[in-house]
């Protein structure tokens, strides 16, 4: 263990956190509205729109079934366009975000599905606009479930970020692969893996705790 450069590891940790947190936020900025639209436009939803739903569902399903590694490679030109480079922490945020959007959208959609139709009916009977039904009734009711979903998504994105190490992304995943795995430094491999496990565990616990604190039923 003596040969481990802890500053190097710490830097990797910060890079991982940056990638995962920023990607999660970006993924929710797009994925949350997308999930709401999916839930609202589906058959039996608040504002059914078959064409819109089918198109969105198709895009989400296709992008979700593409393995993330392929996503990483395919998105390189787009990443270059946005960030200017396809290597490094910032560059990894682009494919991470795009890979996470459909996952977030489906998770949000599932959370909103949990809100009973009765709430929607009560809201409409009160004279609420459709936007008000979503903002004042459906989202608050789904909030604990949304938090829980966010914790799960955070962990998924963390896993993806480790994969990004393969194509020159930064972070703990890259350290584990390039330094630990390829150069046979078992101690570095072990340390990075342990840190990743701790992040997953902490993220999961924090998410669940927040969700259960927010849940009043």
């Amino acid at each position: 263990m003596a040969g481990i450069d802890w500053n190097f590891i710490w830097e990797g940790f910060l890079q991982t956190m940056e990638m995962v947190v920023v990607s999660t936020i970006f993924a929710y900025i797009v994925g949350l509205p997308l999930g709401v639209i999916l839930s609202v436009s589906k058959k039996g939803g608040l504002a059914p729109n078959r064409v819109l739903y089918n198109i969105l569902a198709f895009v989400v399903n296709v992008s979700r079934s593409i393995p993330f590694l392929i996503f990483l490679v395919v998105l390189i030109p787009l990443t270059r366009l946005i960030v200017g480079t396809s290597i490094g922490t910032e560059a990894t945020i682009v494919p991470l975000t795009f890979g996470a959007i459909p996952i977030v959208a489906r998770m949000v959609e599932a959370s909103l599905e949990e809100v009973g139709n009765g709430i929607v009916e009560a809201a409409l009977a009160l004279g609420a606009k459709k936007r008000e039904v979503v903002v004042n009734f459906i989202l608050p009711e789904a909030f604990p479930s949304l938090l829980q979903g966010a914790a799960i998504n955070f962990v998924t994105i963390l896993g993806y970020s480790a994969m990004a190490g393969f194509i020159g992304g930064g972070g703990l995943g890259a350290i584990a692969y390039q330094h630990g795995f390829i150069r046979y430094k078992t101690d570095i491999l072990m340390v990075t893996v342990i840190i990743l496990v701790v992040i997953v565990w902490a993220g999961q616990e924090l998410g669940l705790k927040l969700a259960s604190r927010a849940r009043h039923s």
């Binding site: 709430i119 009560a122 009160l126 004279g127 009734f137």
Partner: protein
């Protein structure tokens, strides 16, 4: 009431309303329903499950569009309203549900305030209104409680407070007491009755329980298979239920009439409407006319303080004696109908 004119004012009018749910199994939920509900009424709509009650109540605030016909609220056809007009109308029509449909992640306070926000009530008035509503429903101490911390009856009180907070003209109750036990049901019905009399809010109650109708409704419509089989004052329904379905709802205990008598005797169903109940009619028949009838089933209820009841008696086999008995009941002013061959689905004959 002093304002008779207002009393006669029609708040809801349904004209030949038909609702068809299209799909693989086409369902006619409402079949040519016409109905008039007056301002200030406590109007019951009763039927077995699947009769179309919930669909009917949902046409009243256009949660459900009608396929044919028209629903008029204060003379305006709901179909003719644009989105914002419809929302305004809905704000004048409160609704409470069997499942309460409260925001479970919000306090009682926020539940009511959400309704006020939707109705664009100025924020400065919110607290005052919430406190007033909670006082009306008797939950002042639960302002900051979450629905999960409340009992079923308390949840329904919150729902009533929410419905009442925007000052509606009507409150629609969709099986609002069906999930509650009998004494809680009675409390909720009392509250609705009080709201009706104190705030002049028209109340429309959808239920499958005759006891609910008995307890508070002035008028009632019986729905069966999407059609209104009869409607009118509640008392009339008890005195003279015209249809089999009503009889089953009014006197559920006497459903299996043909099990009473296996000897094939003719039976009479006698109905007491409160004026003769104290009068020992059966005993007098025996004493004065020397005719005895056997009582097969008896059932009395108190509706609005007046005793109502029905009795099923088997007539003597002797045709003349039977005639004497029928004549006697007629003279005594008791509504009686013959249940031929013990089949109570046959048309009534008035004795």
């Amino acid at each position: 009431m002093s304002d008779k004119r207002l009393d006669d004012d029609v708040i809801f009018k349904l004209e030949n309303v038909t609702k068809v749910f299209e799909g693989d199994n086409k369902v006619v939920a409402l079949d040519n329903v016409s109905l008039q509900i007056n301002r200030g009424d406590i109007y019951g709509i009763i039927g077995m499950s699947g009769a179309g009650k919930s669909t009917l109540v949902r046409t009243l605030n256009r949660l459900e569009d009608v396929s044919e016909g028209a629903v008029l609220f204060e003379g305006r056809d709901l179909k003719s309203l644009n989105k914002s007009e419809l929302r305004n109308v809905r704000q004048g029509i409160g609704m409470i549900f069997q499942g309460f449909n409260l925001l479970n992640q919000r306090t009682v306070d926020k539940n009511i305030k959400t309704a006020l926000k939707i109705a664009d009530v100025p924020k400065s008035e919110h607290d005052k209104i919430v406190d007033k509503m909670l006082k009306i429903v008797g939950l002042e101490d639960k302002k900051y409680a979450y629905p999960a911390q409340l009992s079923g009856g308390q949840k329904q009180r919150v729902a009533i407070a929410r419905a009442l907070s925007t000052n509606p003209k009507v409150i629609l109750c969709d099986e609002a007491t069906s999930a509650l036990d009998p004494n809680i049901t009675a409390e909720i019905l009392d509250l609705l009755k009080r709201i009706n009399s104190e705030f002049k809010v028209t109340i429309i109650i959808i239920t499958h329980e005759m006891s609910v109708v008995e307890a508070i409704c002035d008028k009632v419509a019986v729905l069966n298979g999407g059609r209104i089989v009869e409607n009118g004052p509640v008392k009339e329904l008890f005195v003279n239920p015209k249809s089999e379905i009503t009889r089953r709802l009014v006197y559920p205990e006497s459903v299996a009439l043909n099990s009473f008598d296996s000897e094939g005797r003719k039976c009479l169903r006698l109905v007491f409407d409160g004026t003769e109940a104290s009068h020992p009619i059966i005993a007098e028949l025996a004493a004065k006319k020397g005719v005895t009838v056997s009582i097969l089933n008896a059932n009395t209820k108190s509706i609005g303080g007046v005793g109502f009841g029905q009795m099923v008696v088997a007539l003597p086999n002797d045709v003349n004696e039977a005639k004497v008995a029928v004549e006697y009941f007629k003279e005594a002013g008791v509504f009686a109908e013959e249940i031929e061959e013990l089949d109570d689905s046959k048309d009534a004959i008035s004795a």
